[in-house]
């Protein structure tokens, strides 16, 4: 019981972080499913959403700031696709990936210039950042809300993809790019729509993520971005439920590893700090490599065969 009591806070915060990763991971997995591109800039778009919120909240009431932040972020995602990826549609995959890395570099440097590299405090959003007590532990309300909100958004997204025209177009494009084009699908619109959905979810995710953190710095998007990508690979890239499940697993594992020292000390297995927390990031990547080596298509990925 004591052990459970000591693990519980980490478990709850892990589920919450997992939900936030899930919202970012969907952007990765959808873009990869259609363009076969690791959108390295996605994590930085997530960071920009945080920064925009900081600046907007300083000059206007929150009920204006939040929708405006989402619109600006979505516009950024749309512009990135049009400017940096669309011209390279016929280029080799490596060029597009390099372009994505270049965009990520540009966004980080731009953010560094605008903020002066200082930590920007994220505004407190009423209600969701209130402190509440659950199961005898104190946390902010956002921790509890995140998993539910994530599941609602994901269900909505899956319905959109399975039951609307644009969703059908997306599925067609991800199956076969060229044939879909021949069937009269306007490929550029579909790709733009993918980026819009992805960045929209990242904007929501950033709101939930940064509420629990001290602030936003230009590099704060890089790590969550990479982890969300790992989650997408873990669940089988291209599959939305896979990405969400992968993200929850990674979030929970990471959070428990962060607290493993404390938990084991309560348990009595170890008597001094081992420093497992250092490996909370490394664990994610170790998991990635294990998955890639033993099941490259992930948990729910489709098997593909290369034709010569």
């Amino acid at each position: 019981m004591e052990l459970l009591q000591s693990i519980l806070p980490y478990l709850i915060s892990g589920i919450s972080v997992g939900g936030q990763y899930a919202l970012i991971a969907i952007g990765y997995t959808m873009v990869y499913g259609i363009l076969r591109l690791i959108n390295f800039a996605h994590g930085d778009v997530f960071m920009v959403a945080g920064l925009v919120m900081v600046y907007l909240a300083g000059s206007m009431p929150l009920y204006f700031a939040i929708p405006l932040m989402i619109i600006i972020t979505v516009a950024l995602g749309f512009i990135i696709e049009r400017v940096a990826y669309k011209p390279l549609r016929t280029a080799p995959r490596m060029s597009v990936m390099i372009s994505a890395i270049g965009v990520s570099y540009l966004i980080q440097n731009l953010a560094l210039y605008i903020t002066g590299g200082l930590n920007k405090n994220y505004p407190a959003i009423p209600w969701i950042s209130d402190r509440i007590t659950v199961f005898g532990m104190e946390t902010s309300r956002v921790t509890i809300i995140t998993p539910f909100l994530t599941v609602i958004l994901v269900v909505a997204l899956v319905l959109l993809i399975n039951h609307t025209k644009i969703g059908m177009a997306m599925r067609a494009v991800s199956k076969d790019f060229e044939t879909a084009q021949l069937m009269g699908i306007k490929i550029n619109n579909v790709i733009s729509m993918t980026f819009i959905i992805g960045t929209f979810l990242a904007a929501i995710g950033s709101m939930l993520f940064f509420t629990n953190f001290i602030g936003v710095v230009p590099t704060s998007g890089a790590m969550p971005g990479l982890k969300a990508f790992v989650a997408a690979v873990f669940g089988g890239i291209g599959s939305i439920p896979g990405a969400v499940i992968g993200a929850f697993i990674i979030g929970i594992c990471e959070s428990i590893i962060k607290g493993l020292d404390t938990v084991l000390m309560v348990n009595g297995s170890i008597t001094e700090q081992v420093g497992f927390a250092t490996f909370s990031d490394a664990f994610t990547f170790a998991l990635l490599i294990i998955v890639l080596v033993f099941k490259p298509t992930g948990l729910f990925g489709e098997k593909t065969t290369d034709k010569v």
Binding site: I98, N109, L112, Y113, V233, A282, L288
Partner: protein, 398 residues
């Protein structure tokens, strides 16, 4: 055939002479330019430029010549930098460097060898430490390569990126503190500002010469590798894996050779970086460093060794020297402290890089090399003169 061989010989001799001349010029610059001089930036650019040039060329060997898109370079450079630093910290200061830990390794290669062979021992010790740095990086590359090299394109990229992050985390782990100093930095080891040669009464400064020499030697080795049968095998793997396998090329073996060699030189460049900066800290070797090196390769042209060198020297010169003004208020005589403040340099810089990536996809050199381009230019100039002489002759006859 014979003629071609002769021409190749002549080309090689010309290249050798050019490189030797360059080294002599660097050695002279090292003596002439004082640290207080404005031109001392040139030395900094040469030092850091050679570090990054080697890193970029070794990455190009993998990405440009073998077609393996790997993003683990920062990790291998970290291994090199730490190996070099750990084995060259003098015993006397080891305890002040490892402030919070009880240092596990208690000898310094240059010091041990200095005691037995005099000043030559220092040089030998540094050389051995640099080689060791490369070997450690190569060994880890071999370990990592066993599972990872089977993966294709972007999966390989993300897996190697992950490995670099794991290495960084391991090096910052408190339990390894006695070896790696945990998350604290390593310092006080042999660095370039202490590299001097004393002949009689005169001292010759080598602080720029050494990193440049290391880079030149290593890049020359990579050029030899690329032009060998192995190099041709690498290129065939890049162009078409299936066809290469059908022609009897052992994919696993050649990919591994390329990966391990590239990581060896990445380790050496990491050691050189530690030498130049005078510190080694795991936190500096983030994935952003890999991205920067990749952008240098792209700037110079993927698949061109001289391109990578030019790209990285330009990158370093622009960010350390030419665009400095963008950060400090005055640029090209325009005084606008409001816009030209900290960080603007990097913004301008990344915009330039995006333009190259989007509109000049081949970079500066494409997949051509500088010597052959210069050779072509020389022939063109000579052709121009030859024609002129001929037409004059014709005019005379009439």
């Amino acid at each position: 055939m014979l003629l071609e061989k002769k021409q190749n010989n002549r080309k090689n001799i010309i290249s050798l002479i050019a490189v030797a001349l360059f080294l002599v010029v660097v050695l002279i610059l090292d003596q002439v330019i004082l640290p207080t001089n404005k031109m001392s930036m040139l030395l900094t650019v040469l030092q850091k430029g050679s570090v990054y040039a080697l890193a970029a060329v070794s990455m190009n060997l993998l990405n440009g010549f073998t077609g393996l898109f790997s993003l683990g370079h920062a990790g291998f450079m970290l291994l090199g930098a730490y190996t070099y630093a750990i084995f060259t910290i003098p015993n006397a200061v080891r305890d002040t460097v490892y402030m919070y830990y009880d240092a596990a390794i208690r000898f310094s290669l240059p010091e041990v060898l200095r005691n037995s062979m005099g000043s030559l021992g220092t040089v030998l010790g540094v050389i051995i430490a640099v080689l060791l740095a490369g070997l450690v990086a190569a060994f880890f590359a071999w370990l990592i390569g066993l599972p990872v090299l089977k993966l294709k394109s972007d999966y390989l990229a993300i897996a190697t990126l992950g490995f670099a992050e794991i290495i960084r985390a391991v090096f910052q782990w408190g339990k390894l503190g006695p070896v790696t100093n945990g998350s604290n930095l390593l310092k006080s080891f042999e660095r370039i500002s202490t590299f001097k040669l004393t002949v009689g009464a005169t001292t010759i400064k080598l602080s720029t010469f050494v990193p440049v020499l290391i880079a030149v030697v290593c890049i020359a080795l990579i050029v030899l590798l690329v032009n060998s049968t192995y190099g041709r095998a690498f290129k065939s793997i890049r162009d078409d894996e299936v066809a290469a396998e059908a022609m009897g090329i052992n994919l696993a073996k050649h990919k591994m050779i390329s990966f391990v060699t590239s990581s060896f030189f990445a380790g050496v460049s990491g050691a050189t970086m530690a030498m130049v900066l005078g510190i080694a800290q795991a936190n500096n070797f983030k994935s952003n460093m890999t991205y920067e090196i990749l952008l240098m390769v792209v700037l110079g042209g993927i698949g061109s060794i001289s391109g990578s060198v030019i790209g990285s020297v330009l990158f370093v010169a622009a960010s350390e020297w030419w665009l400095r003004g963008l950060d400090s208020g005055v640029f090209l005589g325009i005084n606008a402290p409001g816009i030209f403040r900290n960080g603007f340099r990097l913004v301008v810089f990344s915009v330039i890089i995006m333009i190259v990536v989007l509109f000049f996809r081949k970079g500066i050199m494409g997949d051509r090399e500088l010597p052959e381009q210069l050779g072509k230019l020389w022939k063109k100039i000579r052709g121009l003169f030859a024609k002129k002489v001929k037409s004059e002759e014709v005019a005379d006859h009439e």
